[in-house]
């Protein structure tokens, strides 16, 4: 079930120059719609902005059913997301949610599950980690960034499992890119990955070589977000497929990536 609803900004925390964490609640005081899954996204309307005409698809960072809060991690990447990171408490944004097909939560978890995130791609992994832990799985996180100051929400991730870090300059964790981190060579049963496409491809390559189940979350340009316009398609084993409805999360075996 999809919903269109107004949400109010409860809090907007600037994490650093480029990122903000926004916490929303349903404006009419109703509970958060049930059934929001990790890896799904929302379509946010940026009001009164002809240059950002279409809604902005943003990953669910956390759906907290205890506080009825929806968290979105937003990167200031253009006029639309700029409006969001600058949002003030009490501002109202219209959303359509929840959309898309999220990450797999194994019914019988066996072994360590590694959640690999880079940049704004760490967003869905927080909610995924929380849900995996609640399902008695063993999530661990590998968070990658340019430098220590660019790492996001590390303390929040630590609440749900061990956190491994990779930075380009070695200022935190291992020096190098995510796919070069030693944890990827350890005993892992499953990988969930979200970040820049080169990072996801490199991680997918390792998963493929090592025979590890791996899901990635794609970020193709979208218009409608609900499977009507066929703008966001990815060329998959089943032909051109809507990322907004069949994805954004895909098993790497479904894709045609040359890995």
């Amino acid at each position: 079930m999809k919903y269109q609803l107004d949400t109010t900004v409860k809090q907007c925390d600037r994490l650093n120059q480029a990122y903000a964490l926004l916490r929303f609640y349903p404006t009419d005081g109703s509970p958060l719609p049930v059934g929001i899954e990790p890896g799904q996204f929302v379509q946010v309307l940026i009001p009164d902005s002809p240059s950002t005409f279409l809604r902005r698809p943003i990953s669910v960072c956390m759906a907290d059913y205890q506080t009825q809060e929806l968290w979105l991690l937003v990167r200031d990447a253009g006029a639309g997301t700029h409006r969001l990171v600058e949002a003030k408490q009490g501002e109202v944004f219209n959303m359509i949610l929840p959309l898309g097909h999220g990450f797999t939560i194994p019914t019988e978890p066996d072994g360590r599950i590694l959640l690999v995130g880079g940049g704004v791609g760490v967003a869905p992994l927080l909610y995924l980690g929380q849900r995996l832990k609640a399902a008695n799985a063993q999530p661990e996180f590998l968070l990658a960034a340019k430098s220590q100051g660019d790492l996001l929400l590390v303390e929040e991730f630590e609440q749900h499992g061990p956190v491994h870090l990779a930075t380009d300059d070695g200022s935190a964790g291992e020096r190098g890119f995510a796919h070069q981190h030693s944890v990827l060579q350890s005993d892992i049963s499953r990988i969930a990955c979200c970040g820049p496409t080169p990072m996801m491809r490199a991680v997918a390559h390792i998963a493929h070589e090592r025979g590890i189940e791996c899901e990635v979350s794609l970020e193709n340009m979208m218009a409608c977000g609900i499977g009507a316009c066929l703008c966001c398609v990815e060329d998959t084993q089943r032909g051109n497929t809507c990322v907004c409805t069949e994805g954004p999360v895909f098993n790497i075996n479904q894709l045609k990536w040359q890995i």
Binding site: Q4, F53, I226, A228, C232, G239, T245
Partner: protein, 302 residues
């Protein structure tokens, strides 16, 4: 209560609001978010004789007050529609379902119509001779009077029910094309399809679309669409269906005042998935507030 019913070449609609092909899927995508049966009808995705994969990604670019698309008629073909989609959506919806038909050859168009003709719930087709995103057919037929006339003639023989021809704005005189299809037996014309455009990503030094050019839609095209609807409505006797950047009730009223019998909501469905229902309700409210018995009191008053 005002009477919002309109008649499009024998097809009676409960109100003049339709959804434009390619912007509303098969209606099912919107069923959680609005009452699809509140509409005059839905026009489903462009359907071709054989399945089409469409164009490669990227297919979409956002532009000021609009968007470019180059989907390229991705669809599973008419037989899949008949066997799988038609049974589903006719069970789910009571409103009119109009199929948008596209083709690479004149025979393709006619054959798709022949296969759709036995379906009782499909009482109208909209023939797409205006898609800017396919190499063969599509707009090629819609940019000359002879080509548009020939497709109309062939389809008219294959399709006994309401026949709507969807026209391209990428022509010197859309009025001449409209007259040509009217002369060959079209029951109605719908206009405009998207305007050809392009965008360049300066940072990457590449075109934003895989096909370089695509079709522009959204409020950016509305003044052009409105002018064309006004010109065509003055020039033909068959009903005109207006579309192009309609975002709200006021926009819809502008098209009706310019002479449109019905309207289609397209890109606006992406911004507000319930907008078509809101516009249908808004038109009823407008009539009530202005003491109009029907929209014909204001239709074509410009």
């Amino acid at each position: 209560m005002a009477n919002l019913k309109v008649n499009i070449g024998g097809l009676e609609l409960q109100n003049p609001v339709l959804t434009a092909s390619g912007t509303f899927g098969y209606g099912e995508e919107f069923a959680d978010l609005m009452d699809v049966n509140s509409l005059g009808g839905i026009i489903v995705k462009g359907t071709t004789l054989l399945p089409r994969e469409g164009n490669p990604s990227p297919r979409m670019a956002e532009t000021p007050s609009g968007m470019l698309n180059a989907v390229g008629l991705q669809n599973k073909g008419v037989d899949y529609f008949i066997d799988h989609i038609y049974p589903r959506i006719t069970e789910e919806f009571t409103t009119e379902i109009i199929v948008n038909v596209a083709g690479s050859t004149i025979d393709d168009y006619a054959e798709v119509c022949r296969r759709l003709a036995p379906l009782p719930r499909i009482r109208a087709v909209e023939i797409n001779i205006s898609c800017p995103n396919v190499k063969q057919g599509g707009m090629a037929f819609g940019t000359t009077c002879a080509g548009a006339g020939e497709v109309t003639k062939a389809v008219r023989q294959a399709w006994p029910k309401t026949l709507i021809m969807k026209l391209s704005p990428n022509v010197t005189s859309i009025v001449d094309i409209a007259k040509a299809v009217e002369a060959e037996g079209a029951d109605s014309v719908s206009l405009i399809n998207t305007l050809m455009g392009m965008a360049i990503d300066v940072k990457r030094r590449k075109a934003c679309l895989s096909t370089i050019t695509g079709g522009l839609s959204g409020p950016a095209v509305k003044p052009v669409a409105l002018r064309m609807v006004w010109q065509v409505a003055k020039a033909v006797k068959i009903p005109v269906i207006g579309l192009g950047g309609i975002m709200n009730v006021t926009d819809a009223l502008e098209f009706i005042m310019a002479g449109a019998t019905a309207i289609e909501i397209g890109t606006a469905n992406f911004i507000d998935p319930a907008i078509s229902q809101r516009i249908a309700e808004g038109l009823a409210l407008y009539c009530q507030e202005n003491n109009l018995a029907s929209l014909s009191d204001i239709r074509g008053i410009i």
